[in-house]
């Protein structure tokens, strides 16, 4: 029982990390109908920028100031990226179909990865923003050895929760947020009531960049910033499908479900299948969800016969 709970908690907390990356996907898909394959590359670039800034600043100023400066610099870099993507990729490609836009984001991913590696180099950069890495053991009276909870994962969950709350508030209660939702519903209609599409897209890509930065700091604290971070995008895709491409709560719930599901699969099913089944299990899970609910658990219902 103790082990079961441990796997459950580990899966849920791991799922939060996926949700964090999936969130970036959902934001962009909602506002522009683009499945942004470059999200992984953006996580990588944001992490590199932040880590490089930390290295440079922390030698000259106190930690808190260095942290703030680096966050500012990295955010600035992501804003610049968002502007460049909006200006040079999205605007010329307006009204193209989803596949073309998807391919364009793969092109963007190559560009971001190439440029980021060129500017910041290929060495591993450490990120330390003071997140604790100890593990705690709770309920030691009930279970032998207690139940393991990793503090870093717990903090990640807290950060993700804060991010989701902030994003929800932003979407519900601000003028820009309402404009964003209007564009998501129907961008021609939104444009006709005077919402500037280009500006909205810039905002959305900036927010996605910000989410990428948060994801990068969290993942980077764990394993350092390195090229392998670009692969987290692939972990987020099944989450996206299970939750539905357009739902923010969907991304969170699906993240938890997929995180939990794949951990259970690996721990309980894995040994009899030879192990290493996590990755495809997540996708097969997504496939089954699709067969039952083609729009995902929380996606907008597609009223269409296929």
């Amino acid at each position: 029982m103790g082990f079961f709970l441990e796997v459950l908690i580990g899966g849920l907390l791991g799922g939060v990390l996926y949700a964090l990356v999936a969130l970036g996907f959902v934001l962009i898909f909602k506002a522009s109908g683009i499945l942004n394959f470059a999200q992984g590359a953006m996580v990588f670039a944001a992490g590199l920028g932040f880590a490089a800034a930390m290295e440079k600043t922390s030698a000259h100023m106190p930690f808190a100031l260095a942290l703030a400066t680096s966050l500012l610099l990295a955010t600035g870099m992501m804003l610049l990226t968002a502007w460049a993507i909006e200006r040079f990729v999205l605007r010329p490609l307006v009204n193209q179909n989803g596949l073309t836009l998807f391919m364009a984001t793969i092109g963007v991913a190559f560009m971001v990865e190439g440029l980021a590696q060129q500017i910041f180099g290929n060495n591993i950069r450490r990120i330390d923003v003071g997140l604790p890495k100890t593990s705690m053991f709770i309920l030691e009276s009930q279970f032998d050895g207690g139940i393991l909870v990793n503090a870093l994962d717990l903090w990640t969950a807290v950060i993700a929760a804060l991010l989701v709350v902030a994003l929800s508030l932003f979407f519900q209660n601000t003028r820009t947020g309402r404009a964003l939702r209007a564009v998501a519903d129907d961008h021609t209609a939104a444009q006709s009531v005077g919402i500037p599409l280009n500006w909205i897209w810039f905002i959305v890509w900036s927010i996605a960049g910000g989410v990428a930065l948060v994801a990068a700091i969290v993942w980077g604290s764990k394993i350092g910033v390195q090229f392998a971070l670009t692969f987290v995008a692939l972990k987020a895709l099944p989450v996206l499908i299970v939750g539905g491409l357009t739902s923010i709560p969907g991304a969170i719930v699906a993240g938890l479900l997929v995180g939990m599901g794949e951990k259970f699969a690996e721990v309980y099913l894995g040994p009899s299948l030879g192990g290493g089944i996590e990755q495809w299990f997540a996708y097969v899970l997504a496939l089954f969800v699709l067969l039952v609910r083609p729009q995902g658990l929380f996606g907008e219902r597609i009223i269409e016969r296929i």
């Binding site: 996206l240 030879g274 996708y283 997504a286």
Partner: protein, 362 residues
């Protein structure tokens, strides 16, 4: 003037239905075939650079042809039938491992037959993974096909039967023996691959012009309307998956047997799938010619970009070149999508229209 069709009158339906209705196209195609089958090998025999070295055959022409074939297979699914797939790598892997098992478990079997059987197994697997397409489509289907990708990556690593208990999970292909002919040299291997590709491309071209091809396109353009006029979407979609997977499977077997000789599942990873999808998109959806143009662009451009600075004696290190190649490649993809979203094949069509009236304005 150059591409004018004046004076080329058709008197029969058959003449109107030929693959190349224009005499100019026929001549061009004949020259191209002559060049590919006779010209290039002759240049190699004569030792004229750059064809004197193995490099051009082993590292450029053979991979280019094989990946063109894979792109052709994927184009049937994506371009003609409108079903997006990110699992091309997986079907290549199925073809490669199936061919390997046929060839090594039944040593009497000619390798060519084993390769085709590998394609057959890939077709069967493709039909299974095509079933979800009956219910989902678009980007959702694309992500669903990734399930196939990761599942087969895992399967060929884990189940030792497929790799015949090779301790590392890496397997190597048997010798290429086509009905007694040993394709050992680079030029022979090129000719072998070229022949297979020409045959399959001709088949594919005729298939998409036939009844079934028109069904695919009807389903692609509007599935509901297609169903109403009496096309069974189930049959159309699944045949598209089968034909596409067969061709991709053959390409996978060729990639493993001819190009690499020894391989592991990561050869057919998600990167390969994306690469092939790129070829289809950049080349042009729904165009056979586009597959070859796309493959040339996606495969050869990075190699060129990689070689050029060195050849010019520019003082750039390999990682700088590699990063810049990556950046430029991404930029060019975006550029092409912006300038010509219908792909390189469309540029060729536009060029022909221009040449038709050239030098007059209209």
């Amino acid at each position: 003037m150059i591409y004018s069709d004046e004076g080329q009158l058709k008197t029969t339906y058959a003449a109107d239905m030929v693959i190349f209705p224009l005499a100019q196209d026929r001549t061009l195609f004949a020259i191209l075939m002559l060049l590919a089958f006779v010209g290039i090998p002759a240049l190699a025999l004569a030792g004229i650079p750059p064809f004197h070295a193995d490099y051009i055959f082993k590292a450029i022409l053979t991979p280019f042809l094989i990946l063109s074939l894979a792109a052709l297979g994927l184009n049937i699914l994506v371009g003609y039938c409108g079903q997006i797939s990110l699992g091309a790598g997986a079907f290549m892997a199925v073809g490669a491992y199936a061919a390997f098992n046929f060839a090594s478990r039944i040593p009497e079997l000619p390798v060519l037959i084993a390769i085709l059987l590998g394609g057959g197994v890939a077709a069967a697997v493709g039909v299974c993974f095509g079933v979800p397409s009956l219910r989902i489509k678009g980007l959702y289907l694309a992500v669903a096909t990734l399930a196939a990708q990761f599942f087969f990556d895992w399967l060929f690593l884990r189940v030792r039967w497929f790799t015949q208990d090779s301790p590392s999970g890496s397997v190597s292909a048997p010798k290429l023996n086509v009905f007694g002919w040993h394709a050992d040299s680079a030029v022979e291997r090129y000719l072998l691959v070229l022949s297979i590709i020409v045959v399959l491309a001709a088949l594919a071209k005729n298939l998409v012009r036939s009844d079934i091809g028109r069904q695919w396109m009807a389903v692609r353009d509007m599935d509901l309307a297609a169903e109403i006029i009496g096309i069974r979407p189930v049959r159309a979609k699944l045949t598209a998956f089968a034909v596409s997977s067969f061709i991709i499977g053959v390409a996978g077997a060729l990639w493993a047997f001819v190009n690499l000789g020894s391989w592991e599942p990561s050869t057919f990873s998600i990167d390969r799938s994306l690469q092939i999808l790129f070829m289809v998109i950049v080349g042009g959806l729904g165009s056979i010619l586009g597959c070859f143009l796309g493959a040339a662009f996606v495969l050869l451009l990075p190699i060129m970009l990689d070689i050029v600075p060195g050849a010019l004696g520019m003082p750039l290190s390999t990682d700088t070149v590699s990063n810049m190649t990556m950046f430029l490649f991404g930029a060019l993809i975006v550029f092409f999508l912006v300038v010509e979203p219908h792909g390189l094949a469309r540029l060729w069509v536009i060029l022909k229209e221009k040449l038709k009236i050239w030098p007059f304005p209209y």
